[in-house]
């Protein structure tokens, strides 16, 4: 995502990272109980994960997060001025985003060239790479509780298959 953010910033796309609630809280990175704590945790997130793109911290009660659905890793593309949602995904995947950004650039180019374009509705089933190692690493640094909760979830899913495969 960092690479995309740097590349597409000059093509008219600003990247906004919204820091939300902790999806897998643990002893080292507990759930947020005050806005100051949320800011602090966002700072260590920025540092430890080496995030270069600008981070914005949501309110303590997650007003922005709740307005867009409360999944932990969502991605939206919002058009300039009229704020139309051009693309949304339940999970962030840089490859999908790149395809969409290139497509939109091409279409925006047509519009600027006075070619007529009209909106049409599309859906796409993406296949995101699962970065298990990195995820498990983060779980461990969040604390033993985060790991234990995840292990309990794996047990739960044996009898209640998750919707996300």
């Amino acid at each position: 995502m960092e690479k995309l953010a740097a590349e597409y910033k000059h093509k008219g796309f600003d990247f906004v990272f919204i820091y939300t609630r902790e999806a897998h809280p643990g002893e080292a990175r507990p759930h947020h109980t005050s806005f100051e704590q949320k800011l602090d945790q966002a700072r260590s997130f920025q540092k430890e994960c080496g995030i270069q793109r600008p981070i914005f911290v949501d309110t303590l009660d997650g007003a922005a997060h709740r307005a867009y659905g409360t999944l932990p890793d969502m991605l939206y593309l919002v058009g300039k001025r009229n704020r139309l949602i051009w693309f949304r995904a339940d999970w962030t995947d840089a490859d999908t985003l790149q395809v969409v950004l290139d497509y939109q650039l091409k279409r925006l180019g047509l519009r600027q060239g006075n070619r007529k374009v009209g909106p049409n509705y599309c859906e796409l089933l993406g296949f995101r790479p699962r970065l298990w190692n990195r995820f498990v690493e983060h779980l461990h640094s969040n604390g033993p509780r985060a790991v234990a909760d995840w292990e309990a979830a794996m047990e739960y899913w044996k009898t209640h298959p998750p919707r996300h495969g």
Partner: protein, 107 residues
């Protein structure tokens, strides 16, 4: 407040079973629907202490599918820029440029 949710749960093909005081799970569509009067914050606090894959997560997936569509106007919001503590609105950001909105935390 009516008994609409009862009527809804009795529709053929929409067999629903009560799973808690406020929610019922549609086992055919794997869809959790909120009963009138129940709020997300009452039953599932936004900042939860420990991850639990049960009803809350089911609701999160359902909400994502139902809350917005492409082509709709993105809801405006105010967030705090980490670098300088400045309050920023999406409407200000999107006035200048198209915006890629990414949500996330440590995991």
């Amino acid at each position: 407040m009516g008994l609409g949710w009862v009527a809804q749960s009795l529709q053929p093909g929409l067999v629903s079973i009560p799973t808690s005081r406020h929610y019922y799970l549609n086992i055919h569509r794997r869809k959790v629907t909120k009963r009138p009067g129940a709020t997300m914050t009452q039953d599932f606090p936004y900042n939860y202490e420990g991850y639990d894959p049960g009803e809350r997560e089911e609701m999160d997936f359902t909400r994502f599918q139902e809350i917005l569509r492409v082509g709709q106007k993105a809801p405006d919001f105010e967030v705090t820029r980490l670098d300088d503590g400045e309050k920023v609105r999406l409407s200000d950001l999107s006035a200048q440029s198209n915006v890629v909105l990414e949500f996330g935390s440590f995991t």
